[in-house]
Amino acid sequence: MSNPDWPLYEVFVRGKRGLNHVHVGSLHAADDRMALTHARDLYTRRNEGVSIWVVRSSAITASTPDEKDPFFAPSGDKVYRHPTFYDIPADVPHI
């Protein structure tokens, strides 16, 4: 198994047709450069990626399950925030 002394990194890969980097998994590495080469070897072996981001997991601030209701429930009833009352022209992409 990976060295527990090495920090954990989160890996994001942008696929060939993708617009965004998408989280694909995590790995251990001793430094940022090593994390990038490990990510290349572990997560893009099958011809998937064109770009990789790695970031230390400790650098990510995440919402907690305890905050689920105060964070997300209030937006549940605000139907007027969805652009369903408009006709979107056919030639507008990515919506």
Partner: protein, 278 residues
């Protein structure tokens, strides 16, 4: 679901003439696509075959050494990285052996060269066949061999009179550039690391130094390679000293005692079951 949700969706794409085999990915490129495999006029087939064979032997033997790290590497990620690099080299070997068989007039296939020759018939440089040693020796050998091979392939990609060899080299350049990067980062990391890692890296560098002259006698790229090695050594705080060369050359079929056992393992299945197919 859009591709933004899943970076791996592209794997299921169907390409023309290439049914979706998800497990193998799709959209792979044939490095020799559109390349004429006929021997160009004026090219000496025997000499070309010998060159392809020697470069193929270098890659096959180093690939086998790298494969021996499986289950023994210090980290899971490194094991995968080393196996990946070995597989790149194996791919180069297959193309080079195929070309050797097309041009030496024997009609032999890649398996004939890999599985049905004894150590004395191999023409790989000896640095590739030396035992793995520790991880320091592994990465410093990989640095030297990939820097050397990259320089050779860069030259071949631009100047080889055989279009197949040029195409194989052009494909290999991208792979070797990564191998060199991977190895150089480890050499710097360990050379400039702890007292022990520095000591072992310096030892490893001294262990490969006697085999450098053999590389440059086989392929004259000293001018391209030595500055790279010095730059990495300087960044790592290591000393690349002049050392007495180990006499002999694998290019002449003179090998260390370590090659025969390596080939015995590599060829064991093929020799136990002659002519077997999957």
């Amino acid at each position: 679901m859009s591709d933004d949700d899943n970076a791996y969706l592209g794997l299921a794409e169907v390409h023309e003439g290439d049914e979706a085999h998800w497990a193998f990915g799709t959209g792979f490129e044939d490095p020799l696509h559109g390349t004429d495999t006929a021997l160009p006029p004026g090219v000496d087939g025997a000499a070309l075959a010998a060159r392809c064979l020697a470069l193929g032997d270098d890659a096959l033997v180093l690939a086998q050494r790298l494969a021996q790290w499986c289950t023994r590497a210090p980290e899971l990620e490194e094991e995968l990285a080393l196996a990946n690099i070995g597989l790149d080299l194996l791919g180069q070997t297959r193309l080079l052996y195929t070309r050797a068989g097309q041009t030496d007039g024997s009609g032999r296939g890649e398996d004939d060269y890999a599985y049905r020759r004894d150590a004395g018939a191999f023409r790989n440089v000896r640095l590739a066949e030396l035992p793995n040693g520790d991880f320091a020796e592994c990465v410093v050998r990989l640095l030297v061999l990939s820097a050397w091979r990259l320089a050779v392939f860069e030259r071949l990609a631009g100047t080889a009179t055989d279009p197949v060899l040029a195409a194989v080299a052009a494909k290999g350049v991208k792979e070797l550039a990564y191998h060199r990067l991977y190895a150089a980062e480890w050499v710097v990391r360990l050379g400039d690391g702890t007292e022990e890692s520095h000591r072992r890296m310096q030892q490893a560098l001294e262990a490969v130094a006697p085999y450098l002259d053999e590389l440059f006698a086989a392929e004259d790229v000293r001018e391209q390679v030595e500055p790279v090695l010095r730059q990495v050594a300087d960044s790592a705080g290591l000393v690349l000293a002049q050392t007495a060369a180990a006499p002999g050359s694998g290019r002449d079929g003179e090998h260390t005692e370590h090659l025969a056992p390596l080939l015995a393992e590599l060829q064991s299945v093929a020799r136990a079951h002659p002519g077997a197919t999957w």
